[in-house]
Amino acid sequence: MAIDRVTLGVMANRLDSITREMTNTMVRTARSTTMAAKDFSTSIVSSEGEMVSAPEGIPVHVYGSGLIAQAMTEIHGDAIKPGDAYLTNDPYQGNSHAADQTVLVPVFFEGEHVFTSVAKAHQADIGNAKPTTYSPTALDVYNEGALIFPCVKVQDRYQDVTDIIRMCERRIRAFDTWYGDYLAALGAARLAERRLQEFCEAYGLATVREFVAEWLDYCEQMTAEAISKLPAGRVHASTCLDPFPRLPDGIPLQATIDVMPDEGRVVVDLRDNPDCTPTGLNLTESTSKNAATTAILMCLNSVPETREVIVPNNAGCYRRIEVLLRENCVVGIPRHPASASVATNTVVDRVVGMVLRAVATMREGVGAAHPCFGQPPYTGVASGVDARRDGEDYVFQLFSGTSGGPATAHNDGWLQFTNTAGAGLEYVDSTEVVEQKYPIVVWEKVVRVDSEGAGRMRGAPGGTTVFGPRFDPLEIQYYLDAVVNRSQGVRGGQMSRGPEAWLVSADGAATKRTETVGEVPVDVGECILSWSGAGAGYGPAAERDPERVLRDVVDGYITPARATAAYGVVLTGDPARWETLAVDAEATAAARAAFADAAPDDDVARDTSLPDTWWLAAA
């Protein structure tokens, strides 16, 4: 019996409503800033392991929901029963990376396993050797030190398996925060269990199973329809991660993308990439597949001004985006004990970026330039002791600033992109809340002038964040990328500035940190200056609407000098008084004509001066 389309839509809406309810529960009961910043996701997976609903999940998370639910069935099989809950963060079997601990609740109705509710949250600490949830330099999983839960039972008959909780108590810093976030995730998954049982009762089991099949078919059809509008052909993508500890040449990455609009299908082949590396950078199966899929979904959904999702993100759509992987590959399926500590960014960002950019080379109007790369200090992990709380330890990830999104053919990049994993969904810290909770001071958090990749549409600028400890030294962990191999523009668009980290001493002397992976102690009186990467440009800068360039000058995103040198826009008036500025149309035309002979350098006339150290006045 086929389900009529109206009922189909109503049922899908109900499932999305349940997932949103899970999200609400998580966001309101979360303990850590990481979770509060929305580094978590909720989804509903069918008993067949096909992800059905994840309306607001962050891109890097939700793809793997199906894989981990499948792992649960493979490992526990018929032993799975009502009242169970499972905890996984296993990078070797479906999870994104060890920091994303996931609670799975198998949902039963009339004795049958029908759905699995999945609540995944990036924990503030997971017991790594170092006080961070990102260990890019880890040699392997032993060196990384994370507690790995290979889909273990964490609740039986609706009660905690206390052995697991006690293990965590011994090995996880800030255990109370961990337990609070665990409860938030569990609460969300259990809530979904009740709601899904009611859903089954409402429609009957047969109809629900029918619905799952038909809804995924529908989403598959929508995906095929969207792909049919892409240009046909094969395109080769490549990029290279910056040199990294133990990887002097960085990691060269590539992909072959076959777009088959007639068949409504895209194949991304990631097999021709290096083997797993002795670092924490290796991707997992879920993040490798997710990276390629996310890039294609971004190509399909990037339409200005629409408030509507064109292609829903679920297993139906994944049927049309095939990702080819191999084992023991840095962009593939890691082999134990390779570490995948930072599998949700860095290499992921590179893969998404190179696919977006490669698609853009196929035809004007599609794809995007490179986004920002790296995880600069403004979103690093800070740790220390809090004198205000009797010297209690603290560890938390900052979200105190922004990095720039890539330009598309339709618009300038999104200013608060952060990385492709979150794609702008994440919240930005309130400085006052951070300072109330932790003994640090965030002195500056503003747009980084002249950092954008120029273009007809320009990349979004990066950010400038300055922060330091208040009473006792802190340590900040972060890593940079796109310092050497910078974010590239496309179709004539230009590259952007990469991230930088500086240590400013108490006497005002600033030292640029040269390491890729920073573990920097910051003393009282000292500050970290974080410059984040910007997005790259789309189309030639000389084709940018001069009025937009003027606006960028007036609003201080770029300097007048750069407007002229990079965009060929000559302004009249007093640069110190923006209200007097206007575009000199004639001079602009002449300047732009000259660009035809010699395109300006990507970094022409950028203001790269360090910010004034006014905060040193603080005693």
Binding site: R5, V6, G9, R14, E21, N24, T25, R28, T29, A30, R31, S32, T33, A36, A37, G57, G180, L183, G187, R194, R195, E198, E201, A202, Y218, M222, E225, L297, L300, N301, S302, P304, V311, L356, T408, H410, N411, D412, G413, W414, G422, A423, G424, E426, Y427, V428, S430, T431, E432, E435, Q436, W443, E444, V446, V447, A460, V466, W614, W615, A617
Partner: protein, 714 residues
């Protein structure tokens, strides 16, 4: 004896609603078209109708009016259209982009092409001042006065009309903000300004900054508008108490007080709907539930709010415009959330054969196909017409003829044929999908507030409420709906029942682990002082009360919840702290169904509300305004075909001007009131009361289980 009147006016986007009451009861609802260029014209139009109704010249009616309550969209519209004062933002050095960044976040993760959100004040008008206060209120960097002067002089050069000043941690140490205020008065006399610690003294700099710049930007226009309105009313003969203006907390205050913090008027109209809702819920003896769910449906928006045990629920996250893309007011406000859905929502079938309704709207122009004004896309109103719910010859009391055939053929062509449905089948599908999104919206909201829809009585207001409210209620598991006979003027009705009130907040941190009793008592004391001076400045009689709330969280949690502190208990020892802890644990359990009793808590904000309880009229016994109001007293029953669940049914149509109590109408039926139409699905029964209809739905519970919206246990 001449009665003493109270007039409440709500200027909406389309209509200006006026509710007139005398000292005993509500007399009626009078509607006039809103005149955006000069709101006074629309207001006078409504006053004239009211005056005619009571047989008085307008001057005499106004002379006999003691209280005039005014609820305005003036500030909301000015903000949404950008028609506010040229405003500059002044903040602590290093924080120029507070308004640009907001708190981050967006939807549509896979859409890279969305234009970035526009800040309330453009970056070019955002200025930094060298100074810095820290989280304990200590001064880390002194205010650089010379630089501040230079900045203000520069702002003067830019011909700025208003300035919002928000410095970090001014909530704990306002010295620098106050000094900048003095410098503004000295250097830029005549320029309006707002200081963040005075507008909204809460932690979280974006919210406070947003409150402050919004407030500053509407100060000049609201001062002019309110003073102008008051003096023109007095010119027409109004001789009563000072004009009362409604605020976002569902209360009113004098013009003079409102002009100090005009941001309180923003989005204040919808805040009155639940005030009326609570009154209706209390007036109906047969519908008692702890929670009241108020929905107000207009042509383009569907507003929802909730009251628990007679108390209207608040939010700190009030957005003007869409979440993430709009601006947060930052003030505690009645939690009214708005879905862009209504009679004008357009239906379309996508490439995969799925039916969508909205978010695109045909609005009022061209409007639905049936209006015959050039609309080609079928809308919810067209669907209701095709289903026989609306009489094409009696729409808006006959004010407009609807083109049924045009609606049918658009319905068939755009929805029916792609889905293989008849015109009626397509119309049914549209109402089903539209109702589903409204149901989902209500569910999101009730869940976020920790309420269970099945524990709610629903109050349905707005001109378009009655078309599908019964089916929405059924899917939610709501068993009883109250539909006021003045449904089309819910907010204006609320104006009759609002109290004089003000809310103040202080962002003072406290932790149960190291509770600073003196500081907390001083904070509550400060709130009491502020409230006392507000109350003392009001001449009107009435019982005065103060209530206090703190916003608290478990240690290291991110978001706070409200904890009711009653009338302002002082904290002296462990037993007071234990009392607070218990209240918090209970509130957490109530909201999230989980808690950790005894786990340390942090309090971030203290809030106090002062209230002067005004005398209230009884709800009306009369109908709404109409030229024949009071004339036709008989129930006029006809029959036409209405479609329910895909089946044609003989449907009784009750066209009512006045009905005796105790009349009972069983669905399927349609009740046509002059300003609203109520569709009773089969299985629902309406009890006719003098002031409202009580609709009871058989089997709502089972339907909700069937709809998967409620749990067997929440």
């Amino acid at each position: 004896m001449t009665p003493t009147y109270t007039i409440s006016v709500d200027t909406g986007g389309t209509f200006t609603d006026l509710v007139l009451a005398d000292q005993d009861e509500v007399i009626g609802l009078f509607k006039s078209s809103t005149t955006p260029d000069d709101l006074f014209v629309g207001i006078t139009g409504a006053i004239e109708k009211a005056a005619a109704h009571v047989g008085l010249p307008i001057a005499d009616l106004l002379a006999a009016t003691k209280v005039f309550v005014y609820s305005t969209t003036r500030s909301t519209n000015a903000i949404l259209t950008g028609n506010v004062a040229k405003t500059a933002f002044v903040t602590t050095r290093g924080n120029r982009d507070i308004l640009l960044y907001r708190e981050g976040g967006k939807d549509q993760p896979h859409n890279l092409a969305l234009p970035f959100k526009t800040p309330y004040v453009p970056r070019r008008l955002c200025f930094e001042i060298t100074e810095r206060v820290l989280a304990d209120g200590s001064v880390a960097v002194e205010l650089d006065e010379a630089a501040a002067r230079a900045t203000l002089e520069r702002i003067g050069e830019l011909e700025v009309e208003a300035i919002g000043v928000c410095l970090l941690w001014s909530i704990l140490n306002p010295e620098h903000e106050l000094r900048i205020g003095e410098l503004i008065e000295e250097i830029l006399p005549g320029v309006e300004y707002s200081l963040s610690h005075q507008v909204n003294r809460i932690v979280r700099e974006y919210r406070r900054a947003s409150s402050t710049v919004i407030d500053a930007s509407i100060k000049p226009l609201m001062r002019d508008h309110l003073n102008d309105l008051e003096s023109r009313l007095r010119g027409l003969g109004f001789n009563g108490d000072p004009l009362m203006v409604t605020h976002v907390s569902g209360g009113v205050m004098r013009t003079e007080q409102m002009c100090e913090r005009p941001i309180q008027t923003v989005d204040s109209g919808p805040a009155l709907a639940p005030v009326a809702g609570v009154v209706y819920a209390e007036a109906e003896p047969d519908a008692k539930a702890p929670d009241v769910l108020v929905v107000d449906t207009g042509g383009t928006s569907f507003d929802v709010s909730i009251a628990n045990e007679g108390r209207i629920l608040y939010t700190r996250e009030k957005w003007l415009g869409p979440k993430w893309y709009g601006h947060m007011t930052g003030l505690p406000a009645v939690d009214t959330q708005s879905l862009g859905a209504g009679g004008g929502s357009i239906a379309r079938v996508d490439a995969g054969g799925l039916l969508h309704v909205g978010p695109e709207s045909a609005g009022a122009d061209p409007g639905p196909v049936a209006y015959g004004k050039g609309g080609t896309e079928p809308t919810v109103t067209d669907a209701a017409l095709v289903l026989g719910y609306i009489d094409p010859d009696n729409f808006l009391g006959g004010a407009m003829k609807l083109d049924l055939e045009a609606a049918r053929s658009a319905m068939l062509e755009k929805v029916g044929e792609p889905l293989g449905l008849s015109a009626e089948g397509a119309a049914e599908a549209i109402l089903r999908v539209a109702s589903e999104s409204m149901r989902g919206f209500i569910t999101d909201m009730t869940v976020a507030q920790g309420r269970d829809p099945r524990q709610c009585v629903m109050i349905a207001g707005g001109g378009a409420a009655g078309l599908n409210i019964v089916r929405i209620a059924r899917d939610l598991g709501v068993r009883q709906i109250i539909i006021p006979r003045l449904a089309a003027g819910l907010s204006a009705t609320g104006g009759q029942f609002s109290d004089i009130s003000a809310t103040f907040s202080i962002g003072q941190y406290a932790s149960s682990a190291a509770f600073d009793f003196d500081k907390v008592n001083a904070t509550v004391g400060e709130l009491k002082t502020a409230l006392t001076s507000f109350l003392d400045a009001v001449d009107q009689p009435g019982e005065r009360e103060m209530r206090f709330v703190c916003e608290a969280r478990y240690d290291q949690q991110i978001w706070e919840i409200d904890v009711d502190l009653g009338e302002g208990r002082e904290f002296h020892g462990p037993e007071d702290l234990a009392w607070l802890q218990e209240r918090f644990d209970a509130a957490h359990l109530n909201l999230f169904a989980v808690n950790q009793p005894g786990f340390p808590i942090e309090i971030v904000t203290w809030r106090g509300e002062g209230r002067i309880i005004r005398p209230k009229p009884a709800l009306t016994t009369a109908g709404a305004d109409d030229d024949d109001a009071g004339a036709a007293a008989d129930v006029d029953v006809t029959t036409r075909t209405g479609w329910f669940g895909g089946e044609p049914m003989d449907t009784a149509v009750h066209r009512v001007e006045d009905m005796s109590a105790l009349t009972r109408i069983e669905g399927p039926a349609i009740i046509e009131e002059p300003t609203t139409t109520i569709v009773l699905d089969p299985g629902s029964v309406a009890q006719v009361r003098p002031t409202h209809y009580l609709v009871e739905i058989a089997g709502a519970d089972e339907a909700a289980i069937a709809a998967g919206t409620v749990g067997a246990e929440a």
